[in-house]
């Protein structure tokens, strides 16, 4: 930043001269209004409630003061329904006068709110993973401190091909954009590293039973990649065990498949499963040790994807506010500061690319039992992973967005 202490004092002096003393005092004492758009009812509520808990913890740890100003948090519950997310957001903006938003949780919600965020010029720190929000159709008011759908899947594919020496794999995920994007990213990197994806399965999101998918799963493969979200991976894996497939086929999982939130209800059958994510409650850095211990102490379980996501986004928000001395009213300057943020957080070092997406570590993790509970022990770190993996950003963006059919799967066997 070219904003030195001296130029700040000058600017402040001009401000005082121009507007008079009282105005400046009022601007500084008024709290910053943060909106948290989350999900507290419906099937996604588990993650949404964790988001609220983590944000409350962060704000409390900072004495309700970020960037030198008091903050007020308003929480909106979208129930995970896109239309409702849009309506709640409008309520937060017009009634609660929020100046910055953390959330929403799901990709469909972020897409539904996209236009409104642009028209209101509302700085948004989201956990929604949809690729194009920071790729082909980037929103200038958007930063994402977590990961795109495929950002954590690319390194896992590399790990499967190079470290685990898998040659033939299948992928399975929910039949929604998140699942398609994750599997597509996995497939691209795995096949570019010499592997073959021989089977792709996309069961409907609300499939009652995975039996039919388990029965048609190929058995002559090295491993299967799970791109599930929420409780579906949990159910799939239980049924996988039920059919006696465990031990015959290796299972690796995407960033939401064996989340801490899911692990706490699992038993030893999950031991040894490898997943990739931008976070693990077991991460060994001072910020996370403090965060995870305090969270566990209060709620009696490990923070997972959503809790960590919100805690990291809050840290990014705090750093950006500090660098503009709390002046969130100057939106372009604040947005610039958000995207220029470079700090250490609970997930490790954080920086953003020109599209507003995180460049950060992705961890390969293995389910282990420690102090009586299951956790994701970090076994390998891919540092500073970009959403474009090792591909050239310009070339990457010329391709269509990841989907069910792109990149085309050339090695499928029927």
């Amino acid at each position: 930043m070219a904003f030195t202490r001296r130029s700040f004092l000058q600017a402040a002096g001009v401000g005082i001269a121009a507007f008079g003393f009282p105005v400046r005092v009022r601007a500084q004492t008024e709290p910053i209004r943060i909106g948290l758009m989350t999900v507290k009812t419906g099937p996604l509520a588990s993650g949404g409630i964790d988001m609220e808990r983590a944000l409350a913890q962060f704000v409390r740890e900072h004495n309700n003061t970020l960037g030198g100003r008091k903050v007020e948090v308003s929480v909106g519950d979208s129930a995970g329904v896109p239309a409702q997310a849009r309506a709640k957001l409008q309520e937060l903006v017009e009634r609660n006068k929020i100046q910055v938003m953390i959330g929403p949780l799901a990709a469909a919600e972020a897409l539904a709110a996209d236009d409104y965020i642009r028209s209101q010029q509302l700085p948004t720190l989201s956990v929604a993973a949809a690729e194009d929000l920071t790729q082909r159709n980037p929103n200038p008011w958007f930063v994402r401190g977590t990961s795109t759908s495929a950002q954590s899947a690319h390194p896992l594919a590399d790990y499967c091909a190079k470290q685990l020496k898998y040659k033939r794999m299948a992928v399975i995920a929910d039949d929604i954009a998140y699942g398609h994007e994750m599997c597509a990213g996995f497939q691209r990197v795995f096949e570019d590293s010499g592997g073959k994806i021989v089977q792709k399965m996309f069961p409907p999101l609300t499939v009652p039973d995975y039996a039919t998918y388990l029965a048609q799963m190929k058995t002559n493969i090295d491993a299967i990649f799970l791109g599930f979200a929420g409780s579906n991976g949990f159910r799939w894996f239980k049924q996988f065990n039920e059919y006696g497939l465990k031990g015959k086929i290796n299972v690796v999982g995407g960033m939401t498949a064996f989340d801490e939130a899911v692990l706490r209800n699992m038993s030893d059958e999950a031991l040894g499963i490898i997943t990739s994510c931008w976070y693990s409650a077991e991460l060994d850095n001072p910020i996370n040790k403090k965060f995870a211990a305090a969270f566990r102490n209060e709620w009696k379980y490990d923070p997972g994807f959503y809790a960590a996501a919100t805690y990291v986004e809050a840290a990014v928000l705090e750093a950006a506010l500090a660098s503009v001395n709390g002046k969130i009213e100057d939106k372009p300057a604040f947005m610039k500061a958000l995207r220029a943020t470079k700090i250490d957080t609970a997930r490790g070092p954080v920086a953003f690319d020109e599209y507003g997406n995180i460049v950060g570590n992705v961890y390969i993790r293995k389910v282990e039992r420690k102090e009586g509970r299951l956790g994701n022990a970090v076994i390998y770190t891919y540092p500073n992973v970009s959403q474009f993996w090792t591909y050239d950003a310009k070339e990457f963006l010329k391709n269509p967005v990841y989907s069910r059919d792109w990149p085309p799967a050339k090695n499928l066997e029927s």
Partner: protein, 286 residues
């Protein structure tokens, strides 16, 4: 060959599960003309009550029984206190039952949290049965057995008991039944409790396969509707046949034509509605 055998077994097990879910719905709809949209929520409530019960009584079957009774109690209260006042008001009933299902879903979320909770199958049934190179989960075969036993028990209830005779009379011609002295009020409550009990116990029995999770209600309710509409309302045989037909179509459909998984589930229902509006075994009602 292995594919066909395993998928056939899958169909049968899923059919058993669907029957446990749908038969209560069918009974209530057939007799009381109430499209009870809380049915999915009662199923989920049963699963969650089973989770808690299992902490005190480590026996799945006993837990299913207890959950069935508690859910029946809830169903009875619902019928007596609210639905009773809405007799004849179909739209009101649909709205109320849908509303209650939301309340139950959020109640479950508050009490049991948002994470999926597994329900363990009895230890002896946790291993798959292996014949040759085919492995199939033992528990699913037991579920199929339970569904068949339930079907036989319900059949005997309907055909051989006084209660069954009254229910059949009520389904066929409500006014006539009333005229010859069938205590319709008590009968309605009994049937609603029975339907709720089947849903609640079904939720626990399905637990080791599906787990208890928020959204289970919304996943199951459409399946109950499809089965009942296909089989014909109020018909035990219809619910039984409908469950297995849907399970077979669904299992093979999603295995052979995976891209059409959504369509396949609803297609048979649409065809049946178009050509046989009362379902395969539904009787003309008055």
């Amino acid at each position: 060959m292995q594919f066909w055998i395993v998928q056939s077994l899958n169909s049968l097990a899923l059919g058993g599960l669907l029957f446990l879910l749908a038969t209560g719905f069918s009974l209530i709809f057939g007799l009381m003309r109430i499209a009870n949209l809380t049915h999915g929520a009662l199923f989920m409530l049963g699963a969650y009550v089973g989770v808690t019960t299992l902490k005190f009584v480590p026996n799945l079957w006993l837990a299913a029984l207890i959950a069935g009774l508690l859910v029946a109690l809830f169903g009875g209260l619902l019928e007596r206190s609210i639905l009773r006042r809405l007799a004849g008001n179909a739209l009101g009933q649909v709205l109320v039952t849908l509303g209650v299902s939301f309340i139950v879903a959020d109640f479950c979320l508050i009490v049991w949290g948002g994470d999926p909770i597994p329900i363990a199958a009895p230890t002896s049934l946790q291993r798959p049965i292996v014949v040759g190179n085919i492995a199939f989960p033992a528990y699913r075969l037991v579920v199929l057995g339970i569904a068949i036993i339930t079907a036989i028990a319900l059949h005997l209830l309907m055909e051989r008991t006084r209660l069954g005779a009254m229910i059949r009379a009520g389904v066929d011609d409500m006014q006539m039944a009333r005229a010859v002295g069938v205590p319709v009020s008590r009968l309605f409550t009994t049937v609603f409790c029975l339907g709720a009990a089947l849903a609640g116990a079904g939720g626990v029995i399905a637990g080791p396969i599906m787990s208890a999770y928020p959204g289970l209600d919304a996943d199951m309710l459409p399946l109950a509707l499809i089965v009942v509409i296909l089989g014909g309302v109020g018909s035990l045989l219809g619910a039984f046949v409908g469950s297995f037909v849907i399970a077979i179509i669904y299992t093979f459909g999603s295995a052979l034509l995976p891209d059409l998984a959504y369509v396949i589930l609803f297609l048979p229902m649409i065809v049946v509605i178009a050509f046989r509006p009362r379902g395969l075994f539904g009787r003309r009602s008055t």
